[in-house]
Symmetry: D2
Subunit: 273 residues, 4 copies
């Protein structure tokens, strides 16, 4: 009897790369709102997802610095389960409903990489850093305060892909205009059998279901953002024409479920979407 939510399945189930849900997350986020070229960003959408015509090209980048735990005190194994991530989200719609489409996502941890694929986030490895804030008063502490500055960056395989800077202006009660849409991604797992390379075994549009979503310590301000061009990536195509507000906040949420919007597996043999 082999156990484990994912491979490698084993006798005790302790070897699995990803433990069984529920999954719990807590961390800090540096986020920047921006607008890219809707004539270009439309090309990153799968069939059935459309740019939001009320906010064409409006997008968000999220740099996360977080801790994960499941049912076995994984937060006490920080070498294995702490994680830093980066995501791009585009304002979009699915059958008229406002959603946030996630075309690119990077993390620095193998368990997080695979959790992402299971959740429909198309994760690759990246190295992500953000300025942290510490409790003592020091020029090194980067306190959350008016005119406080925080930077973030993401690189993959030694190439810088994203740089951001936020200058805090004021504390806010609510995250107005950010994370107010459910995130939609694509669970995609290809076949390797000859002749079937373009007929994935799993191809589903999915909508994230989060529980106990909490946000606190919200600060809003101005931002800078750029996506340097890099060989082997297409992220820069979604780069900012205009940059909006910057945000810094702490979050926590849990995941036990996902909503399947569409099963594209059957149709993916006939058309790419």
């Amino acid at each position: 009897m082999l156990k484990g939510y994912t491979a490698p399945r084993s006798r005790l189930g302790a070897a699995a790369l990803v433990p069984s849900p529920p999954w719990h997350f807590a961390g800090d986020v540096l986020a920047v709102e921006f607008w890219n070229d809707p004539d270009v960003s439309v090309d990153i959408l799968p069939t059935g997802v459309e740019l939001d015509e009320k906010s064409p090209g409006r997008s968000v980048v999220l740099f996360t610095d977080y801790q994960f735990t499941a049912q076995n005190d994984e937060y006490l194994d920080p070498a294995r389960y702490q994680c830093r991530g980066f995501s791009v989200l585009l304002d979009a719609t699915w059958k008229g409903t406002r959603i946030a489409w996630c075309p690119y996502c990077y993390v620095d941890n193998d368990a997080a990489l695979m959790r992402g694929w299971i959740q429909g986030y198309p994760r690759k490895f990246g190295t992500i850093h953000q300025t942290r804030t510490f409790a003592t008063a020091s020029v090194a502490s980067a306190p959350l305060a008016h005119n406080g500055r925080l930077s973030a960056c993401m690189s993959a395989h030694g190439r810088l892909l994203v740089q951001a800077r936020v200058t805090l202006r004021e504390k806010a009660e609510r995250l107005a205009g950010l994370l107010d849409r459910r995130i939609v991604g694509r669970r995609y797992f290809p076949r390797l059998s000859a002749g079937m390379h373009d007929k994935p075994a799993v191809d589903e549009l999915v909508r994230c279901v989060s529980n106990q979503f909490l946000i606190t310590n919200i600060w809003v301000g101005e931002a800078e953002l750029n996506f340097p061009e890099a060989y082997g990536e297409e992220l820069e195509i979604l780069g900012p024409l205009k940059v909006g507000r910057g945000y810094r906040f702490s979050f926590s949420y849990s995941v036990t479920d996902i909503e399947i919007l569409a099963d594209l597996t059957a149709s993916s043999a006939m058309r790419s979407g």
Copy 2:
């Protein structure tokens, strides 16, 4: 029209974590043959795979140091596509046919991690090193020669999982007793929908199909091997009771296909195998 063999799918298809097959590999291997306890290692086998009763408990570890390329000169992007790996293979049978079952596999590269899951190798991240051999005469060169010594090790998240040492004795024409069985793994991709966590979307026993498999510069000798115990891993359960020969050789092969031995997806709801 989104392109890409895997996520993230994009307009040009250049962003995909794994490029389309055919995949080509070339590298060096340090391998050690050993015997673990068949009463224990039998528990790591899925339904339908049995220990080889002619060689119960006989196993092999492979440390690989290799280069990957697909159709786009990936070998000229070494930061992204060079890789080091570690695998355990157990002598087993599938419906009476001799196979090598792969219960654990580690790599140090994100594209290799995902290629592994597609091929049925249950990869996690590990840091793998092996003594290299260089062309000039020096005490630092570790030449392939009688009494030459080479070490290898694998750790994950800062914990040492495997250590090996090989003392070369003689050059060999053939890899007798090693890699003479087709490798069988398990393609496994779970569901996240509530109530379906134990009903994977993909659960297939698969047999590796390799083309143009070449081996050269084969050296055989004596070996030492141990699997230190580590929290969060079950590898040490498969550790050696007896250690056999050590091997060092160079290899290349290509992959374009896989053979599906059994689709366990339907049955996996009822029993874990």
Copy 3:
């Protein structure tokens, strides 16, 4: 005119591995008090430093997770200047004065490695993690609260060297019994000229001078600690016979100076100390 506090010196001085002091630090610490065998730990002391006979064998480990800045907003370059560290400190005396002797120190960043050598900390590379605490309520947040648990670990080159666990019991006003001694280290830079390998160019006992030292959010509790044995390290010799209290706190301080207690350079040709 080349500029730079350290090599590489360059036209603008921007390339130097370490920027000029003053240096500012802010971060979080997980610390554990313990007692090792004074008959053994006495052997790690240089000439002139003695174990504190009032607390023989009493020692402390510090896991730090911190941000660095100098005069050029280095905290806005987190990929280059954030750092995690690990130190051992032994209760000792120098000419009757209570000090803390630092025999071993590890960091995960090149600038921090070299700053350490300049400050007399004998740094090597290590990978250090500690459970973090986040602002939102979640099982993943590890809040600072009664019975809250936090772990830390340090590994070098894939070998686990230290593991610690702290269970918080109560908030404290002061760090009683911790960091109440000035840290003493040894600035040591060898010669490579033939015949001079044991006659270092720099060999000084130095006492750390910290300014604006602040501590806040102090929690005290119980602790577990162990130093697994690892090839190529001697840390385990200093391992705990008994473990005392655990601490978690935030800190900041600045460095612009160092006090030279003794110049051993001349004498180091005649005796090792």
Copy 4:
């Protein structure tokens, strides 16, 4: 009695970051010859070193992939002692003698970082990769052959600093025009005492002394090279106006000594050079 060529000094001397010389090195090199702007590169020279007026601006980059050993079989501890490096060398003269001046150097290993500082190489951490060549025939093998192509790159803290590509044209008997000058560097170790930050404790111009220097498997061809601009580095100032030949070869050598050309310590208080 504490032992160890470097800190941390310990009872057995096994903990020292760098073992005592002699040091032995063996590895592979990808090198590119180029010319930068002598009006600019002259500014990276210390007092007493001049650009070679017979080849003003002629420079070389070396990407190395190598193994290190000292007296204790360090090559059998590959996780700790294998290394990849990158160096820039400028054609220069010292008192009329042809030398190669090393303004910048990067490595991926802590022991190598400190060995470099001891040898006068101004090392910082970098991530370095080069296309490898393997013994079996495969499109992934990158054989050393006419029209064979090899790439190399170096990044630091997630920023790409150098990219190179070599197309092999022919095997050569000798390394004409490469490594035919002794390398000169600067041993530099600062003071931290207040008021002494610009008066280093060690400031010596040194010339590398190599023994048993061997070169084999030399291939020469054409090359591409570029130094992308990156925040916090000054490498791009030395970037190519013109690119010359590319080289690929294997090497080994040993180090037990260094030649001190000039002790700048006394004078460095009065002028920066």
